[in-house]
């Protein structure tokens, strides 16, 4: 057993215990990692151009399959959520968007977890879902 009894990745990845802010934290990390892998894959994909037009076309064909469409849809969702939530975090982490410190009165409601922040998280998730639906519509010519 770890001397400090740290929960490890399991504790970090458990999004269910602390409300929507913890879910947003978890999604932000997952989408960040997903986009990093996409970025690496994208460099590999575009590097096929060096092998000529045929290699490039065969690489593009991979995205024209059902699995390719699902993958690209996920990339769209990850991009939109990561951008929307990232803007919220940049504003919040500069110290804006949750008012001023004040004497706490019971029952304590933390200003940093206010409705503005929650709304931004829900909007980011909603926009990601809309963008994914739009992307699916374009890819399947609906």
């Amino acid at each position: 057993m770890d001397k400090d009894r740290r929960e490890g990745i399991k504790g970090m990845a458990n999004p269910g215990r602390y409300g929507i802010e913890r879910v947003a934290y978890w999604l932000m990390r997952i989408t960040g990692l997903g986009l990093l892998f996409y970025f690496i894959g994208h460099i590999y994909e575009t590097s096929s151009l060096l092998d000529g037009k045929a290699a490039w076309n065969s690489m593009l064909e991979l995205t024209q399959t059902t699995e390719g469409h699902i993958f690209l849809t996920l990339v769209i969702g990850m991009c939109v959520f990561h951008t929307g939530n990232g803007i919220r975090l940049m504003i919040a982490q500069a110290g804006f968007g949750f008012g001023k410190p004040r004497r706490p009165d019971y029952p304590y409601t933390p200003s940093s977890l206010n409705m503005k922040n929650k709304l931004c998280i829900y909007v980011s998730i909603g926009l990601a879902a809309l963008a994914m639906m739009y992307g699916l519509g374009v890819m399947y010519d609906v």
């Binding site: 057993m1 001397k3 400090d4 009894r5 740290r6 929960e7 490890g8 990745i9 399991k10 504790g11 970090m12 215990r17 602390y18 409300g19 802010e21 913890r22 947003a24 934290y25 932000m28 990390r29 975090l89 919040a92 982490q93 500069a94 110290g95 804006f96 949750f98 001023k100 410190p101 004040r102 004497r103 706490p104 009165d105 019971y106 304590y108 409601t109 933390p110 200003s111 940093s112 977890l113 922040n117």
Partner: protein
């Protein structure tokens, strides 16, 4: 006060109340116990010096509407298992001793009523991200040393205790800037809930960072640059990702997440 328990003139004992001679306190206790509901209290037991793995021991405990989790643990300790290791002191959310994981979330045992948990089974475990002493008691050495690193005192050249000086005056607005963060009781719940602390053993943590903000925001203090240098490190303030779990579990309304984000404003130049 009248002698011998006699009532003052004009007062009569209601007929439906027993006199002390008719009902002993033990009988009353038994009466309360038999009339109350019960829960199953699962207590994590583990002694790092003896045991190989932690085990949950289940106890049936009577409770009333006002019974706290700490009351239930102490009931078990008094009547069923004397060996349970638990730390507590004030029983009124002031000392910060009885922090533990109650049904999966860090809470103060003395500040959590069983009736508000809305569950027939209450599971108590020691706080995460702290070294275990035994059963429900964890070690606070690292948190206290981090707290000390933040220089939790007013730093300035002169002193209000020197002869011929007056106290340093502050307006109510000046006090509002930091008073929220001075309510910290160092219970460690925020550090237990923090997702960064689950993996980073050298992260300062929300408790220490919120205390750094408390003194940086105090206009009597002149140690701002010193403190900002301490927290501006790879495992310092930049490892906070604003998950807000620390503020959600704080039993005193300190809102460490807010303090950390405001502190970042000083480092990024938005605040002076």
């Amino acid at each position: 006060m009248t002698k011998g328990g006699a009532l003052p003139k004009g007062f009569e004992m209601p007929s439906n109340i027993d006199s002390p001679s008719q009902s002993s306190s033990q009988e009353k206790y038994e009466e309360v116990k038999s009339s109350s509901k019960t829960i199953t209290l699962r207590i994590s037991k583990f002694n790092p010096e003896k045991d190989q793995r932690k085990a949950f021991h289940a106890f049936t405990v009577p409770y009333q509407r006002w019974t706290t989790v700490l009351d239930a643990i102490l009931d078990v300790k008094s009547n069923q298992d004397h060996s349970i290791g638990v730390r507590y002191s004030c029983r009124q959310a002031t000392c910060g001793s009885c922090g533990m994981i109650i049904n999966g979330k860090p809470k103060l045992a003395c500040f959590t009523k069983i009736s508000e948990l809305d569950s027939d089974v209450v599971t108590v475990e020691p706080m995460n991200n702290f070294p275990l002493i035994r059963d429900l008691a964890v070690g606070f050495e690292r948190m206290f040393s981090t707290h000390k690193r933040m220089k939790p005192y007013i730093i300035r050249e002169d002193s209000e205790t020197n002869p011929g000086t007056k106290e340093f005056l502050q307006t109510p607005e000046d006090v509002e800037k930091y008073i929220q963060f001075s309510s910290c009781i160092k219970c460690g719940l925020c550090n237990s809930a923090c997702p960064t602390m689950t993996t980073d053993s050298t992260f300062i943590g929300p408790q220490g960072l919120a205390q750094a903000y408390r003194y940086v925001a105090d206009n009597r203090d002149q140690g701002k640059d010193e403190r900002l240098r301490i927290i501006d490190e790879p495992h310092g303030i930049w490892r906070c990702h604003f998950a807000g779990s620390c503020s959600q579990v704080c039993p005193k309304g300190v809102d460490p997440a807010m303090g950390i984000q405001l502190l970042r404003g000083y480092l990024l130049g938005y605040r002076k």
